[in-house]
Every structure is written in C-alpha cells, then in structure tokens.
C-alpha cells in the first residue's frame, strides 16, 4: 500500500497538512470548480504550454495543473536539502576527476571501460579546466517516496534539466487563486530562483571578467521547453539567443546586435551537447554555434551546464553514485538510490530475466519515459518482446523493482482521488551551492499510473515547504 502524503493509513490528516485540510473542507466544491477553470485560463492566457513530440508543429497543450499542493514539513526538507547538496557536490567532483586525473577509475571503483565506451563521455573535455571546477551548474534531481515514506533518488538530471518555470508559475497561480491560504500556512518562498540562477551564472564567468554578459541559448520557439527559456531569460534580464544570433571570431563568442557584435561571457545553454557546435559534434545541427567548443576550450567563454556532464547522470553511472559520494567526500550518502540491477553484470541479468514481470527495465540512454518496460503493467507479449531486446545487448539496460510511489489527493473527473507523485528540486552550483525550498512536483493523472512525464499525460502541483 502506497503512502499517502496527506493522510495517515487510518485516514487522519497528517500534521503538516492540517491547516490546508481544514481550509479545503470549508471550501464549497462549486467554488473549487470555478477556481480550476480560472487556473486553466490563467495558464492559457500566459501561454504556458508545451509542444508534444510527434504531434503537428504548432500544436500547443497545457500541462494540467492540480490545485492540491504537495506539502513537505520543515525537518524533512532540511534533511533532503542536505542530501541533495551532498549528492551534487560529489557528482561535480566526479566530473572534475573523470576529465582530469581519473583517480576513481584507477581506484577501481568504476570500471574504466564503462566510462570510456560511453557516448556521454566527451574526450574533448579531457584536461580542460572550467571555472570553479563546476560542471553541473543546474541539477534537477528526481526524487520519489516509496514504501513507508523513504525517499529515493530516481535520476540525477545534470544536462539540461527543465521544469523550473512550472515550479515558479504554479506558485504564482496558487497565490493568485487562493491568497488566503498563504496567510494561514507559512509556505517558504521560491520566487527568488531566477536571482539565485543569475548569481550562479555570474559566479562562473571566465577568470578576469568582472561584469559578464550572460545569454540563454535556446533551440527556438518550437522547442517543447521554449516557454521556460523565455521565462528565465526575462526574469534574469539576459538575452534569449538562438544559435544564429551568436558567432565565434578568433575564439571569442559574440552576439549580433543592432549596434554591431557584442562579446558573450557565459552561455546558459538549453541545447544538448550534440547540437551546440556543428564543427565539434553533429555537423547537421542548425541550432548550434560553429566554433563554440574551441572558444570554450580556450577558456574565453563558459557554458552551463558544462559539455560532458552526461557521463555523471547516465543510467549506467547511477548505480555507482553512493560509491562516488563515499570516494570523494568520505561520507555516507544521505539520500538512497533505488536498488538497481546492472544488466551488464551476469548475475543481475539472470535475476532480471527471471523477474521481468516485477521489474522496471530502463534503457541506459532513454529519457522522458520512452523505451522502458514496467513489468507489472506489461502484457506477456510486451515482456517477451522486451526480453529479446535485453538479451541482444544487456549492457544497454538496468532494472529496478517497481516502487509503490507515494500519492497525494488530486482532482480528477470523479472528484478528489490519490495519484502518484515525484519531486524535482533544482540544485544550483557556482561559487557556492544553493536551492530554493521546493521543486517541481509531477503527478501521474491516470489511475495507478507511475509515469509522471508531461509527455505521457502527467500534471503538476505546487510544492510547499513549510517554514515551521
């Protein structure tokens, strides 16, 4: 039986939800319906929409926003925050090591060939020094609660994690719809995130640059996360640029302005490694900037997140993260990994093949809920098909037990019903490491579904960290 965030198993309201539950009980259901409609029109008017893979260009959908917040008590957050900082610190140390001395490989903690054969390892980054030794400036760590309420890290997103704009817009919508709630519940603010992000980006400017020019590099208006790119650029007051707006001359990056070229010092890029420089990576990329990697390697510009962070958040590296924390920090991990079977290991493979109907099998390089098998929900045929894919190349897969994810009351057609959740806090690393109290809570809207991705019919909730 999955844990319910709001209710104890005997149906009493948990203490940190009490103020909210009293307010909810006093709220006429007709008024809630009105508020739901109002929320819908707020998001539509603001154009907070995303494009869906495989649908016609220009199709825009709203991500469903649920009115019941996910609430986290103070002490729980303090502990989570400690674990998140520890984890991201260790992962940055790992990246620094992998792209320099590689002590962790020599110590035999991680098999060297697993790193070098991984496409996410970028040899171009070897022995390049990046400002403050930070690689993953923005990390979006996915957490779930299972069983009796233990937190697990599901994924470390260290490349171009998105979703933070929903965290901010959800809060804004909640405050607008239910101002009285915020007077009664002491919810920690998250609105200063763009400020922290700007500070973080400024702190990692190339050495000697005092007043850095920062830009946000987007693939353009048809990208599914374009709304977020524009939102963050506007909130930080930096230019939102596309590849065509930048050029490199003599290893210096410039943007094209109405008053001629202007030098750029820090690029917050929302484009994958493969596309940022057609001269270095995919030659067919129209999104990138030719020569950018040369300028970057010469230290004339900084890129956030760094090139090559994928080696640290890859699903093949994930099982080693607890070891990574012990190796670099000499500490026990605060946050647990989900127990993971690494199918390149013969024992794990044998176990997984024998228990496919109980396991979640993930492709090491998959993302967004595509290309995975959820054993307990799959048909016999789907399991057999997947078995063939696994045996033909086991090293491409990992397997994990299906977790009974925690749930939270959520508005659905039939009224209020429990739906499964995850949580993505955003960790910023620059001259120091910070995060706002909260994150993006995603909710699987289909009954029993464990997939929270917006591309697969997930919604979002406001996330409250209580201040006392």
């Amino acid at each position: 039986m999955a844990l319910n965030e709001m209710f104890e198993s005997d149906g009493t309201v948990r203490p940190h939800y009490r103020a909210y539950a009293e307010w909810l009980a006093a709220m006429p259901s007709q008024r809630l319906d009105e508020k739901r409609a109002e929320a819908d029109s707020l998001f539509r008017r603001a154009g907070i929409t995303f494009a869906v893979h495989g649908e016609a260009t220009g199709t825009e959908r709203l991500i469903p926003f649920d009115l019941v917040p996910r609430i986290i008590p103070t002490a729980e957050w303090d502990w989570l925050q400690r674990g998140l900082k520890q984890r991201v610190t260790a992962l940055n140390a790992f990246l620094q090591d992998i792209y320099h001395e590689q002590e962790i490989l020599r110590a035999g903690v991680i098999p060297a060939e697993q790193v070098f054969r991984n496409l996410q390892y970028r040899p171009e980054m070897q022995d390049i020094n990046v400002p403050m030794d930070v690689y993953a400036h923005i990390a979006g760590v996915d957490l779930v609660r299972a069983g009796a309420g233990e937190y697990y890290v599901l994924e470390d997103n260290l490349r171009v994690p998105s979703g933070v704009s929903y965290m901010l817009e959800n809060r804004q919508a909640m405050m607008r719809l239910f101002p009285e709630l915020f007077a009664n519940c002491s919810v920690a603010p998250v609105e200063h995130y763009p400020d922290l992000l700007l500070d973080c980006l400024r702190s990692v400017a190339p050495a000697g640059v005092r007043d850095p020019t920062i830009v946000l590099l987007t693939p353009g208006a048809y990208n599914s996360a374009y709304f977020e790119h524009a939102f963050l650029a506007q909130q930080m007051g930096v230019e939102l640029v596309e590849g065509q707006d930048l050029f490199v001359d003599d290893e210096v990056v410039y943007m094209r302005t109405t008053q001629g070229p202007r030098r750029v010092d820090v690029i917050y890029r929302r484009i994958d490694d493969d596309f940022i420089d057609p001269l270095a990576f995919r030659p067919d990329s129209m999104l990138g900037v030719p020569g950018l990697l040369m300028a970057y390697r010469a230290g004339r510009v900084n890129i956030a997140n760094a090139v090559g962070t994928g080696i640290a958040d890859d699903k093949s590296t994930y099982p080693y993260v607890p070891e990574i924390i012990r190796f670099y920090l000499g500490e026990e991990p605060v946050l647990s990994n989900v127990p993971t079977y690494v199918l390149r290991r013969p024992d794990d493979l044998a176990y997984a093949l024998a228990h496919l109907d109980e396991l979640v099998v993930k492709e090491v390089h998959g993302a967004g809920g595509y290309g995975m098998l959820i054993g307990p929900r799959a048909s016999k045929q789907e399991i057999e098909d997947f078995r063939l894919r696994i045996t033909s190349d086991p090293s491409r897969y990992i397997a994990q037990p299906t977790l009974a994810l925690s749930s939270c009351p959520t508005f659905v057609e039939s009224g209020l019903a429990p739906r499964h959740l995850d949580l993505r806090p955003f960790v910023l690393s620059g001259s120091d490491i910070t995060l706002v109290p909260g994150g993006l809570t995603r909710v699987a809207l289909r009954e029993g579904s464990l997939v929270v991705n917006s591309s697969q019919g997930g919604g979002t909730k406001d996330t409250w960290v209580l201040e006392r």
Binding site: G47, H229, T258
Partner: protein, 315 residues
C-alpha cells in the same frame, strides 16, 4: 539588442497595426453599404477594397464574383490570405512568442489573448449587422497592445523598434486607404474644391478616426481637398502621412548605427517632402500618382531598415 529580436519586435508591431487598419477599412465599407443598397456601388467598393489589400485575384479565383459577406470573410479570416486580420494576429503573436524574453509579460499576454480570442469570431460568418462588433474588437485589441507596450516596456531600443514598425505601417495603410477611396471614385471626376458627397467622404474620415478631427480643424463642410490635406499633410493628425513619417524619421535618428546613414537621409527626404509640401502641388501632380510615389518610398525605407538593423551582419 539582438538584431533578430529587433526584427521580431518590428514585425510584431507592424502586423498589429495592419490588423487595425484592415478593420478600419472593412468597417467603413460596411457602414457605406448599410446606407446605400445600390448593388453596383457595393460591388465597386468591395472590389476596390480587395484590390487595395492585393487579394482581388485570389478572391475571384475562389469565389468568381464579389459579394459583401464573402469579401468580409476573406479579409477577416481567410487562411490562404496572408494579410487577413486573423493571419496578422497570428503573425504578431508568433513574433511576440519568438521574443517573449524581451517583452513585458503584459505585452505577451495581450497578444496571446488576442490570438486566442480571434477564433471566437471566425466560426460564425459575419453578417454586416454583427461585423461591426468584430471590427471594434480588433481596433481595441490594437489600442490595448499599443498602450500596454508604452505603459509596461522599458522605453529603450526595443520599444523604438515597435514604434518604427507601427508608424511605417500606419503611413503605408493611410496612403492605401486614401488611394482606394480615390480608385473607387475613379469613374467620376472629383471636384476637389467643391463640397464632396457627405457620406462618401465622411466615411473615409471615420475610417481613420478623423471625422471629429476634420470638424475641429476646418470648422466647415467637407471638401475632398481638405480631406486629402488632413490625411497627407496635417502634422497633429495622428494617422496622417506627415505625422507618421515625422515619427519614423525621429525614431530612426535615435536608433542610428554605422550602417544606417543613407536610410536616415532618405527618411529625412520623405519627411521634408511632407513637411514643406502643399496640397496644391499634390493635386497638381495628381493625388494618386503622389500616393503611389509615397508608397514606393515607404517600401524602400522598409527594406533599407531591414538591411541596416534587422538582418544579422556577416561575420
């Protein structure tokens, strides 16, 4: 600012202004046909309007004959007409979306809401009796966009590029509205100094919100000569060619860069032509020939502005 950003802002404003002026033209035509049911006159009016917006041929190809409801529908919503009101709002919103980071939230929400709501009107064909509501709505969405820009954006280059686009578009549109009116009357000889047909010329004035202005400025009956003077040369009249080009010239001076010297000179030349021109000379040259020359000059300025500011410099 980024050249690409300037380009999007400039076109965002141009398309919004264009939508407004289309609504103005449609509005005046509808009012006229409500007054007079002479079928020939009605057809002539709508033919002239379709030709002004460059859509006569595609329209005839699709409909065979000109009728009022079809013409209104075509100019308001037709998807294959890149200059329909709905397409203008689509383009304005697409441009705004591309530079969302550089415009105020209010500006974005205004254009996005316009884009969402225009669909509401599309689905029931506009009869002349209900179309007025739509045209009013279009005009007010444009007023709102202009006010929101001025009231919420930093008054820097970004705002100036929207003003540059809006004034250039308005100058062009006023010239076309006047030209279309003259074209419609081409079958008769216009006596410019005599009192003109009250309804014809009054409707033209209303289409550019200038009926009350005319009364205020001239305190006399309506003559075609004065209407032309008001729309072409009268500086305080906010939709006159003179007023718009003075704003274009002024804005260009503020935006000047190393490449724009010749463009500024040409804008100054147009400004001087209007500033020191006399209506006698306009009429002597022939008002339509004068307007065509003017339209050629604004088109030239448009492409020069694109080259100097909006297209990225070669690396």
């Amino acid at each position: 600012m980024l050249s690409r950003t300037a380009d999007h802002l400039y076109w965002m404003a141009r398309y919004t202004e264009r939508a407004e002026n289309l609504a103005r033209m449609l509005d005046v035509n509808c009012r006229m046909t409500l007054l007079r049911q002479d079928e020939d006159a009605v057809r002539r009016r709508w033919t002239a309007m379709l030709s002004t917006v460059g859509q006569l041929e595609p329209f005839l190809a699709a409909h065979g004959d000109v009728s009022e409801p079809a013409a209104i529908q075509w100019i308001s919503f037709e998807g294959s007409n890149p200059g329909s009101i709905q397409q203008c709002f689509d383009s304005a919103r697409e441009n705004a979306r591309a530079v969302r980071g550089s415009i105020s939230t209010e500006t974005w929400e205004t254009l996005n809401t316009t884009w969402l709501e225009v669909r509401r009107f599309r689905n029931h064909p506009l009869a002349a009796e209900v179309s007025g509501e739509f045209f009013e709505w279009v005009k007010f969405r444009s007023h709102l966009a202009r006010g929101v820009l001025g009231g919420t954006m930093l008054h820097d280059d970004a705002l100036k590029f929207t003003q540059l686009g809006a004034y250039l578009e308005r100058a062009d549109n006023t010239a076309r509205i006047l030209d279309a009116h003259l074209e419609m009357l081409a079958h008769q000889t216009i006596k410019f100094d005599d009192v003109g047909d009250y309804y014809d010329w009054g409707a033209l004035l209303r289409s550019v919100s200038a009926f009350a202005i005319y009364r205020k400025v001239y305190r006399d009956r309506i003559t075609p000569r004065r209407v032309a003077e008001l729309l072409i040369l009268h500086e305080p009249m906010p939709r006159s060619l003179r007023h718009c080009m003075s704003a274009v010239q002024h804005t260009l001076e503020e935006l000047a860069n190393t490449r724009s010297v010749e463009t500024q000179r040409r804008a100054g030349e147009v400004d001087a032509m209007l500033r020191y021109g006399r209506i006698e000379d306009v009429l002597a040259q022939g008002p339509r020939s004068y307007l065509h020359e003017f339209l050629a000059r604004t088109a030239d300025l448009g492409s020069r502005i694109a080259n100097d500011f909006l297209v990225s410099e070669a690396t």
